[in-house]
């Protein structure tokens, strides 16, 4: 059952991807619409109030930063061959 469920989406890759983009767009729209999420009361800082879709930007930038900064750091010489400690 699980396998069939996964294959259903894998066989319709184009549709799945469009669906995902749709969800992302919806999230941003919900965030921007005034009064929907109660942002006025709950936001912790001014960036959340004044930058539309702040947490979307935050999530994407955070992910990108983590990947690129970590890989850069790793390639400074932190990542090394597997048998490094064996000799």
């Amino acid at each position: 059952m699980i396998v069939r469920f996964i294959d259903f989406f894998r066989n319709r890759m184009q549709m799945t991807i469009r669906l995902c983009y749709g969800v992302l767009a919806l999230l941003v729209i919900i965030d921007i619409m005034p009064g929907l999420t109660g942002k006025e009361h709950h936001a912790h800082s001014w960036v959340e109030h004044y930058i539309p879709g702040w947490w979307s930007i935050f999530g994407f930038v955070a992910c990108t930063l983590i990947i690129f900064v970590s890989k850069w750091f790793g390639h400074l010489g932190i990542m090394t061959r597997e048998d490094y400690y064996d000799d």
Binding site: C20, L27, F60, K71, E82
Partner: protein
């Protein structure tokens, strides 16, 4: 005198473990016994009344084995529950020896949680280290031995620092051994020493490298136990003693990010999960540092949720290792058709750790972050939120993707062997998965267990919207840059380099300069020490033989005795001289501190 009515849950596990080798007969009997003992411990915790029990007089000290309050109860609850789940998971392991070691290890953890003074704490603290190391050794590879010894050395070091702190505190307070809030507003040397002892077990960088080292090498079931107990017991100890210690906020945030960075680089699934323990425990350490009621609640809630989802993740990746003998992403991939249920369990663990709405992390992690915002610690709260994007990136996306989807790197043999694991392992995963979802959906279950009243509501529209945006846009980033994250066949150097390669420097020092100095010294000693000694000895022998022997019969024996002592003292071994010296320094130091 132990109070008659109170039984320590650790005692249940210790007795259970000691009887374990004698449980024979059909497999079903053994399995029932394996189920019964942790179940009894769990029921014992559930039915325990609050109060102080198990108070004993030992020499000058009053030892307290059973302080049952809300803080110890929530930790005792989750520890015994996890012990039950872990035991079910490990039931089919080759021997019972893993379970034997694991129960003693959990007993150590429970001993720390319920103790009321530092002496009992130290006793059980060491029990944890010396029993859990067997969970690494039982893996049985050549590498496991070395890893186990490293693990033991690091924890022995931590234990010594803790002990030094305890002795200094004992001296400074005039014999106070009680374990409680240590006075974080006016920290002194012993405060920091005790803290270092605790945060070494919580795996705070740079004292963390033992964790991925050991957990990546532990047995399949061993890692499930290890990932739950050592770090979270340390969190309990910190929450008990160090709530509001400012430096812990910074350390916690560093941990949260450190674990995320190394998780990007990691090629071994279980080591990746281990680095994410460091990251998640970072939230708890920061929570202790913030120290408000809300933050301590968040710390306890997150420890509770963490034990379950991290156990689940280790069970999921452990099942893959158990079935295929592989745990590296570069040896796996595309397994969803072969191990679909394991995939779903692991995904539930991944969604829980990533704090998806309706999963356990959502109601626990956010409490710590919210406490940070509440105290206007903006930088800490934002950086912790940044780290949570990293958590989803790795545990929610990278682990499932590169094991069950992605490029199929499996060898023919791996592919052939891959299948969902034996039924007991699946039951354990299903139970843990159930709790991950249950805690996330029905918040009163966890919130009513917390030490302080909870005034926090995770399910507001804004919080859900905020979390979903962060998580799903992280997912977008993952799929855009997935090539960048493709597994690389490497290991990453960490702080263990200093004692793994540093030992080479030490060995070189020992071989070259010290050895040659030793040789030179032996030569000097032979000429300047041995020759006169021999002459003296000969003289005494002559004197004894010719002059005295007839007069005083026993003197020869006396002289013989003293020259023997003299010879032992002056045998020219640098090591012995050094140990005399170190002993002397130690005595002087103790004398100095005691007269302070």
């Amino acid at each position: 005198m132990m109070t008659d009515l109170w039984i320590h849950p650790a005692a249940v596990l210790i007795i259970g473990a000691l009887l374990l080798p004698f449980v024979r007969g059909p497999r079903i009997i053994r399995n029932l016994y394996l189920l019964l003992v942790p179940l009894l411990a769990f029921i014992n915790v559930l039915t325990m009344a609050k109060g102080t029990f198990g108070v004993m007089q030992f020499m000058d000290w009053t030892l307290t084995f059973g302080r049952v309050d809300r803080l110890s109860h929530v930790f005792g609850f989750i520890m015994t529950l996890m012990c039950l789940i872990g035991t079910v998971y490990g039931m089919n392991s080759k021997g019972i020896r893993e379970i034997f070691a694991a129960w003693l290890y959990v007993a150590g953890s429970l001993g720390v949680i319920y103790c009321g003074d530092y002496i009992v704490l130290f006793l059980f603290w060491e029990l944890m280290a010396f029993t859990s190391v067997f969970l690494v050794w039982f893996r049985g590879r050549k590498r496991s031995m070395a890893t186990g010894y490293r693990y033991l050395m690091v924890h022995t070091f931590g234990g010594l620092v803790l002990l030094a702190g305890l002795i200094l505190r004992y001296q400074a307070t005039g014999g106070d051994i009680s374990f409680g809030p240590i006075g974080v507003d006016s920290p002194s040397l012993y405060t920091y020493l005790i803290m270092i002892g605790f945060i070494l077990n919580a795996a705070v960088p740079p004292l963390h490298a033992w964790l991925p080292d050991a957990y990546g090498e532990a047995t399949v079931a061993g890692a499930v136990f290890m990932c739950a107990f050592t770090t979270k017991t340390a969190i309990y100890a910190l929450a008990r003693g160090f709530a509001g210690m400012d430096i812990l906020i910074a350390l916690g945030v560093i941990m949260a990010l450190y674990g995320v960075v190394y998780a990007v680089l990691e090629n071994d699934a279980r080591r990746l999960l281990a680095y994410h323990i460091i990251s998640q425990v970072g939230y708890m350490v920061a929570g202790v540092g913030i120290g408000t009621e809300m933050a301590i609640n968040g710390t306890c809630a997150h420890a509770f949720a963490h034990i379950l989802y991290k156990g689940l993740l280790f069970m999921g990746c452990g099942s893959v290792l158990f079935m295929t003998n592989k745990s590296k992403f570069s040896d796996l991939g595309g397994l969803y058709k072969k191990m679909p249920r394991t995939f779903v369990y692991t995904l539930i663990g991944g969604l829980s750790i990533s704090a998806f709405p309706l999963f356990s992390g959502f109601v626990s992690k956010s409490m710590i972050v919210a406490a940070g915002f509440h105290e206007h610690l903006m930088w800490a709260a934002f950086l912790l939120t940044l780290a949570s994007a990293g958590t989803f990136l790795h545990t929610g996306l990278k682990v499932p993707y590169f094991i069950w989807f992605g490029k199929n790197n499996c060898s023919e043999e791996t592919w052939e062997k891959a299948a969902d694991p034996p039924v007991n392992m699946e039951i354990a995963m299903a139970v843990a998965a159930f709790f991950c979802i249950f805690i996330g959906c029905y918040t009163p279950f966890l919130y009513n267990l917390l030490p302080y009243p909870v005034h926090y509501h995770p399910y507001t529209a804004y919080h859900i919207s905020e979390s979903m945006q962060i998580l799903l846009f992280t997912a977008l980033g993952f799929f855009l840059f997935v090539k960048k994250l493709a597994p690389e066949v490497v290991i990453s150097l960490d702080f263990d380099w200093f004692y793994r390669k540093g030992s080479k420097v030490f060995m070189w020092l020992a071989r070259k300069p010290i050895q040659s100095f030793d040789n030179a010294w032996s030569e000097v000693y032979r000429v300047a020490g041995m020759v006169p000694l021999m002459i003296t000895a000969r003289f005494w022998s002559w004197f004894d033989w010719h002059g005295i022997d007839g007069v005083v019969d026993g003197l020869a024996r006396v002289v013989g005795y003293f020259s023997e002592k003299l010879r032992w003292m002056q045998n020219g071994q640098i090591a012995r001289y050094l140990s005399f010296m170190a002993g002397g320094v130690f005595v002087v130091l103790v004398w100095m501190f005691s007269s302070m």
